[in-house]
């Protein structure tokens, strides 16, 4: 790389926008395909337990609620693979894009 | 191209005689599976060294305890000029699992033999340092995590 071309590049970089984003003040939007926090549709869940069986991180447990079994996802164990979404026959677990999941307390991470 | 494996089989069969057990060939993947007696392994690899003039890549050794009395060892090779995937299989009984080490014939086996030893307890005779590789130092002797017991 020759010196003049180097200088030109350095000069042009001076006026470019920075490659980084000031994150907490300016939100980044992940693509629509992003695997974030699950959206649970409890009315559609039949309590079949397929998701709990298939979960590779053992994050889904079936608990009794309103006279039937209902899945509960522990996000602190979840690896966001969405195998549960693909296996659910009734679409009771849906894809969400929320990635701001950090909390102070672990029990806040349990999705019902 | 297809003759390459025939030639290899002939050489192995001639060199190993009755210690050569059987073979299978998958034409689609160009993969050759050869089953030999365990004491024939060094000889088999010497023959392969000769045929390929050292132009092969030694991939790995898999040791598998399939719940029977034997540990099955699979040596994976890739012969570069012949473009042939070779799997040499041999089995060692669990109780007396002594196998001749191949370090002198194939230097690349040095770590794999140690791994098979610590995971399955197969003793490789003549290995320069047959000791633990992955497991912590305080791991009990004679406990091999991948054995089905």
């Amino acid at each position: 790389m020759t010196l003049p071309s180097l200088l030109r590049r350095a000069w042009s970089n001076l006026f470019k926008k920075p490659a980084t984003v000031q994150y907490p003040f300016k939100k980044l939007i992940p693509p629509t395909t992003y695997r974030g926090r699950h959206v649970l549709v409890n009315e559609r869940c039949t309590g079949c337990g397929l998701c709990a069986k298939v979960c590779p991180a053992f994050a889904i447990t079936m608990v009794p609620a309103e006279g039937r079994a209902l899945r509960v996802i522990d996000l602190s164990k979840c690896i966001f693979c969405y195998q549960c979404e693909s296996v659910c026959p009734r679409g009771a677990i849906r894809r969400g894009r929320d990635y701001e999941l950090a909390t102070w307390r672990k029990d806040e991470l349990v999705l019902r | 191209m297809a003759e390459d494996y025939v030639k290899l089989i002939e050489v192995l069969r001639e060199g190993l005689r009755e210690r050569f057990l059987r073979y299978e060939y998958d034409a689609k993947r160009r993969a050759l599976k050869v089953l030999v007696e365990r004491d024939a392994l060094p000889k088999a690899f010497e023959l392969i060294n000769e045929i390929s003039r050292g132009e092969y890549h030694f991939t790995t050794i898999t040791g598998a305890d399939l719940g029977e009395d034997d540990v099955e060892l699979t040596y994976f090779l890739w012969l570069i000029p012949q473009k042939l995937r070779v799997m040499i299989k041999a089995s060692a009984p669990k109780r007396d699992s002594k196998v001749q080490s191949l370090v002198n014939v194939v230097p690349a086996t040095i770590l794999y033999e140690r791994e098979v030893y610590e995971m399955l307890g197969v003793r490789f005779e003549g290995h320069p340092r047959l000791e633990k590789l992955f497991l912590p130092e305080d791991w009990p002797e004679n406990v091999h995590p991948l054995r089905r017991e």
């Binding site: 950090a102 909390t103 | 995590p145």
Partner: protein, 86 residues
């Protein structure tokens, strides 16, 4: 102190020691599913589970792996906790 990855039996003692050696004020962030609750490595013979089994954790950042922004969000959460006096 930021802890990532599963806590193995070998590492547990070391994490405790590092935590005790850290001068106050100290805060612990568990980043990633493995550090939060064990993730896929649960029920493996060498893995204990989340970091909170060994040392107290202030902020959990789930995700496998979390986006960089999610980690920064975790730091923002921590700052919030510190300014409020935890």
């Amino acid at each position: 102190m930021i802890v990532t990855g599963a806590v193995t039996r070998q590492a547990a003692e070391r994490i405790k020691r590092v935590y005790e050696q850290t001068p106050d004020p100290k805060f612990v962030m568990a980043v990633g599913a493995c550090a939060c609750g064990g993730g896929v490595f649960q029920n493996c013979y060498g893995v204990l589970g989340g970091v909170d089994k060994v040392i107290p954790v202030d902020v959990y950042v789930p995700g496998c792996p979390p986006r960089p922004d999610a980690i920064i969000y975790g730091v923002a959460k921590l700052i919030e906790k510190v300014t409020r006096g935890g």
